[in-house]
């Protein structure tokens, strides 16, 4: 076992972790603010990947095709997220947890079939542009350059979200809404509008994440089913509603995955569930969350 292999495995785990962070950050934000666990988050992530492919396909002759498709896919998904919020989610704000879970779970089934109807069952592949197709060398260790891109996007989204939540007026309102909905609403700020905004933001990030995921491998139906569970694990490990926790949780899960593939390939996912279960038993609010509503 030489250092080169460990290092490249570490980078691969980091990029996988960042990918999970892109999905889980929206999930955690939506749960933290709206108290709704969005089962359909990874399904929308997959829709983002398919949209990215479709947009990319229309302009693949140009060098900037992928770089333009990623934000466009995010915007399309933001629109879809807005529709879902206004038509469905808004109706279940006051319902109980199981009903909210069921609604988003039903969306998983519907979106899965809608993808099948719209894009068919064949796998899609995006050819990476030359900038990110070869390896780059760090101290002589070859690293997939697309992984570096994924990590950069993850870091950018993390910083962007942090800046939004801590430094902007809307971010402060959102954080206040996490703390006390009644108080924010008593100050004359319309809660439903905040909820819609947060949901759209979360789905926008999920769309970006899907688009970034698209060129990693092939885009396959049913990819979302495994990813949503891992995203739940990330959010549980980090703590619901905590941005830092989600970041740390994603890296933990990504690295566990990358290194257990090396040492104990059968147990990779099992190990993630074991860690999640231990965290839930010992600290249900996660590593960085605040104890509440346990």
């Amino acid at each position: 076992m030489d250092i080169t292999l460990l290092m490249s495995q570490f980078i691969s785990g980091l990029s996988q972790g960042m990918m999970l962070f892109l999905i889980a950050s929206g999930l955690s934000l939506i749960f933290g603010v709206m108290n709704i666990l969005n089962f359909a988050h990874a399904s929308l992530w997959l829709v983002g990947a398919f949209f990215c492919h479709s947009i990319w396909l229309r302009m693949q002759d140009y060098g900037f095709a992928l770089w333009l498709s990623i934000p466009l896919a995010g915007l399309v998904l933001a629109g879809i997220g807005w529709l879902i919020e206004v038509i469905l989610i808004r109706r279940v704000y006051k319902r109980e947890l199981p009903e909210q879970l069921l609604l988003t779970y039903a969306m998983v089934l519907i979106i899965g079939d809608v993808i099948k109807i719209s894009w068919g069952v064949e796998d899609r592949i995006i050819v990476r542009p030359p900038e990110v197709s070869g390896p780059v060398f760090f101290f002589g260790i070859p690293i997939d350059s697309y992984f570096i891109f994924v990590i950069l996007v993850g870091v950018a989204v993390a910083i962007g979200l942090w800046w939004f939540l801590k430094k902007t007026k809307y971010g402060r309102i959102v954080r206040a809404a996490v703390f006390s909905r009644e108080m924010v609403s008593a100050l004359g700020i319309p809660i439903p509008r905040i909820y819609t905004g947060v949901f759209v933001l979360g789905i926008f990030i999920a769309g970006i994440a899907g688009a970034v995921q698209a060129p990693v491998g092939s885009i396959t139906l049913g990819m979302d089913m495994a990813v949503i569970i891992q995203a739940f694990c990330v959010v549980v490990i980090g703590g619901f509603g905590s941005l830092l926790g989600t970041l740390v949780g994603s890296i933990i899960v990504g690295e566990i995955y990358a290194f257990s593939i090396l040492f104990w390939p059968q147990g990779a996912l099992a190990l993630i569930f074991i860690v999640t279960a231990i965290i839930l038993i010992v600290r249900p609010w996660g590593l960085f969350g605040t104890p509440m509503r346990v």
Binding site: L88, L102, A106, L109, I110, D113, V114, A277, L280
Partner: protein, 315 residues
Amino acid sequence: MKRYLFLGLIYALALVLPLFIGEFWIHVAVEILILGLFAVSFNMIFGYMGQLSFGHAAYYGVGAYVTGMLMVKASVPLAICLPLSMIGAGICALIIGYFCVRLTGIYFAILTMAFGQLIYYIIFKWYSFTRGDDGLQGIIAPPLLFSVNAYYYFTLFIATAALIVMWYISESPFGYTMRAIRDNADRTRFIGINVRKYMLINFVIAGMFAGLAGALWGPFNRSIAPDLCNWHHSGTPVFMTVIGGPFGFFGPMIGSVIYTFLMAFITGFTEYWPLTIGLVIIFVVLFVPGGVLGVFENKMKGFRSKAPKSEETIP
């Protein structure tokens, strides 16, 4: 009294059903019974204890695997396999439940799901023991139960017995303790009840009956696969319970009739069954809270006020 008459009528109908319907629909009826039993066992946790278990398929799958592996590898008779399946699923539920009952709400749902996935991956990856995603084939019911009709009556008998036992449990003081815990765990604790212990016992009972339902599935389908334990299969009893109504004992069974019948009917002419059931679920959640049984009982009682919502209960 009227209620018992109604149940008797339904039961008589179930007894003569195979005389009137074709083989395909008898298959569907067996499926309704097995999945209905699964859903009723799920509702022991959901309806009576007030917690959403999102890993209930794990116990179903463990039950199916205990029976399947004993029958295929050791040719153990089915009659012995069934109780062993219940015990196997019960032990799993005991170990998992020990941790799960410490949590409530969303954390309970996610922890049951994480453990369910853990069991799924163990069965999926332990190729040398469970044959992984190849599944187990050739689980043949004994010659006496070989025909569809015979297996239907066998399932009906076992399911009825299990339902009667669960009915007694839910109407016993234990069942009412569970309702008290569901409505207010703190107050229940104050009157000196060990809430966690009671929740754990209930969790194990629910797991055992899910295991029994799983055990019936193998010989019926003649093969089993690890997907029986996967989290989307845990959604099935949730759907059935919500469609049928979680506030009555037979709600999940009614849900199973609707769900399974609809599935057999819809898959006959379109592959988009998930889309259909997704729309049905959204419709039920938005417009028919309380499920079919809820609507039915509301009509009966002249639209009496429904079960209190969480924000109205006193903390």
